[in-house]
Amino acid sequence: MFDIDALMNCFGMASCAVNQLTSGLIIGMLLFLVASGLTLIFGVLNVINFAHGTFYMIGAYFAFSAYLLTESYLLSAFVGALGAGIFGIFFERVLISKVYNQDILMQLLVCYAFILITDDLVKLIWGTDYIAMGIPDEFRLAPFRIFGGYVPPLYAFLILLSLVIGIAIIFLISKTRFGSIVRAAAENAPMVSALGIRVPLYFALLFGLGCALAGVAGALAAPVRSLTPGMGFGILIESFIVTVIGGMGSIPGALVAAIILGLTRSIGSVGFPLFVDGLMFLIMALVLIFKPTGLFVKGSSK
């Protein structure tokens, strides 16, 4: 099952090492965007958004339609994020905020209903066909060659952009007034509202932000991943693994965990192609056993 020779060979060759490391990074960074939204919502609202993958899908479909109209990749990514964000706020206000203090099973049911309804809506609006947005012309370039390895320009751009978005989110939460308020509200909501701050508004905005992160990931990946109703499901599971490994509520944790997963998959595809998923879950299990709060969260879990 484990092909150590192939692995050694690969890392003995610069081209193979470059290929696998960059592919690990690109998988990891897009996963990070989705998972950071999930972990953000959990960290502040203490809600596990099981419908998070749906916002990834909404982002992708909105971006697709925007791309048809504008033919601008960046603008359509923005529309995807905005669409998912607005949908997220709507979802939070109308549905999830009603079950904040209820049993987790109730939250799960509400989310599941939302997933099914949205999947059907997507089917009605965009149809059941496989949709591909296609690679934007400005990125239809020959791959960069680095030490004999291949790095597609689109992927290099996506890695950088995801990193910038990630840093911006960390900055937003830790350094701005918005961040201070939501962090304070997470600790003690009645106290914050006693100061005259409309806590529900901030919670809704934060929920929307988390969903927008999933949406932007879906939108950015739309040129290379085919769009189908129900596409959010696969990414949801991986996002959960990331959140568990990195620590529920920790954005830097999500970043590190997403890159670990990306590299596990890329290195695994060379060294142990039949055990990639197994290893991902194994890492998760080990973290749960030895550091149940996740790598980047101190103290006991909430």
Partner: protein, 422 residues
């Protein structure tokens, strides 16, 4: 006075007519008429939601072509065909439950099972249990009909079969390999029963026809995996002479888009058995040139007037392009209709089975305009199996080469013997 009387008459006439219309609308035609012209209900379970909802959608549109034809021609001795469909969500237990429900609650007389393999095996056993005539229209798993253990006297298959595609594809690929001196093959297939069996069968026949070939790398993405980057780079690292992939549907679209970013198709020959389906060929924005694709359904394969006509009829009733599943569903329905004509509308499973075993019908998808359901193993033969090479413009697939059925029959027989099916 006369005028008033007339008016009254008209009013009461309108009242009576309105009442009559309402009653007809509510109850359908009067009961006496109903008994003689009772429609023949065909129960269909298929996948109408989730990631492969396109399967069910194009199945139903395919069925519509055959059903409209027979109903417009007056039905079977005056009885119309009525399709009653249900969404199994691709779940075997749900498909089995719905199949029973279609028979028990909806009063379906016969079954067309339009499910993927997992659910098909479940429905196969239900049809055996409740003794209803059934044609499987989608599952390609060879053992479904080849293995005598699975066979049911009143159940048939009107779909492609994995072993036929493997022999046809193997012969085609081995010729390309000989001409281009391709020795090292890599494979990339979805990691579940179909992907593994299909890859193994294809490589087995490729090696049989060109003994010098080696498999150097195999990579197994999950089904519905959104991202194939690590698989693509693993393939690039291995530097094979050629690639074989049986990815399908949206997964294949994503794989091709992502692999194009890496210029993968410029670096080695590729064979994609499931590429030649119209929604896939048209979904890929810039289709790479010179990729060998298996034909699933294509309006130009075979390039006949009959196929063109069928395509037009299909498109008149569908907003999604036809898939491989569409012609298979249409074919299943046509075999059913032909059998019903022979029994005079009698849906007795044994009578229908007798009319279906060994039956040959005219079909736009047959190699010589006909297709047969073989009597000995209840499966479809003589349908078009072909490979083509991609071009960047419509019709996207050119240089079509059809497989010879005489080769397929010979190797299929050996395969059956090896597996102790005969």
């Amino acid at each position: 006075m006369k005028k008033i009387k007339n008016q009254l008459k008209r009013r009461s006439f309108i009242k009576v007519a309105g009442l009559g219309l309402a009653t007809t609308a509510l109850t359908g035609f009067p009961n006496i008429l109903k008994a003689a012209n009772k429609p023949i209900k065909v129960g269909v379970t298929t996948i109408l939601s989730g990631r492969v909802a396109i399967l069910g959608q194009t199945v139903l549109s395919g069925l519509k072509v055959a059903v409209n034809e027979i109903n417009d021609a007056g039905g079977i001795d005056g009885r119309k065909i009525e399709v009653v469909s249900r969404d199994s969500k691709a779940k075997p237990d749900e498909a089995a439950r719905l199949t029973r429900e279609l028979v028990n609650n909806e009063g379906c007389d016969v079954l067309l099972n339009c499910e993927a393999s997992g659910a098909t095996f479940a429905v196969n056993e239900v049809a055996r249990d409740i003794k209803k005539f059934c044609i499987h229209c989608i599952s390609e798993t060879s053992s479904l009909t080849a293995d005598p253990k699975n066979r049911v006297p009143w159940v048939f298959r009107a779909a492609r079969q994995g072993i036929h595609d493997a022999v046809g594809g193997g012969i085609f690929a081995s010729e390309v390999a000989k001409n281009n001196n391709l020795k090292k093959f890599a494979t990339c297939a979805p990691d579940y029963a179909y992907g593994r069996a299909n890859t193994a069968e294809f490589m087995e026949y490729l090696k049989l026809f060109s003994p010098g070939i080696d498999i150097t790398t195999q990579t197994w993405p999950k089904i519905f995996q959104p991202d194939y980057t690590e698989n693509i780079t693993a393939l690039l690292n291995a530097k094979p002479d050629a690639l074989y992939t049986c990815l399908w549907g949206g997964d294949l679209v994503a794989f091709i888009d992502q692999a194009s970013l890496y210029g993968l198709f410029d670096q080695f020959q590729s064979f994609a058995v499931n590429l030649g389906d119209l929604p896939i060929l048209t979904a890929i924005k810039k289709i790479p040139k010179d990729v060998y694709g298996g034909a699933r359904y294509h309006k130009d394969i075979p390039d006949t007037q009959e196929n063109e006509n069928w395509y037009k009829k299909y498109m008149a009733g569908s907003d999604v392009l036809p898939t491989n599943w569409s012609w298979e569903a249409d074919t299943g329905m046509r075999f059913l209709i032909d059998a019903l004509k022979k029994t005079g509308g009698d849906t007795d499973p044994m009578k229908l089975a007798k009319a279906t075993a060994g039956n040959t019908i005219k079909s736009p998808f047959g190699v010589d305009g006909t297709m047969t359901i073989r009597g000995e193993d209840h499966t479809l033969v003589n349908y078009v199996i072909a490979y083509g090479k991609t071009i960047t413009k419509d019709p996207y697939l050119a240089n079509i080469k059809q497989s010879e059925w005489k080769d397929i029959y010979t190797h299929e027989k050996d395969w059956k013997k090896r597996n102790k099916y005969i």
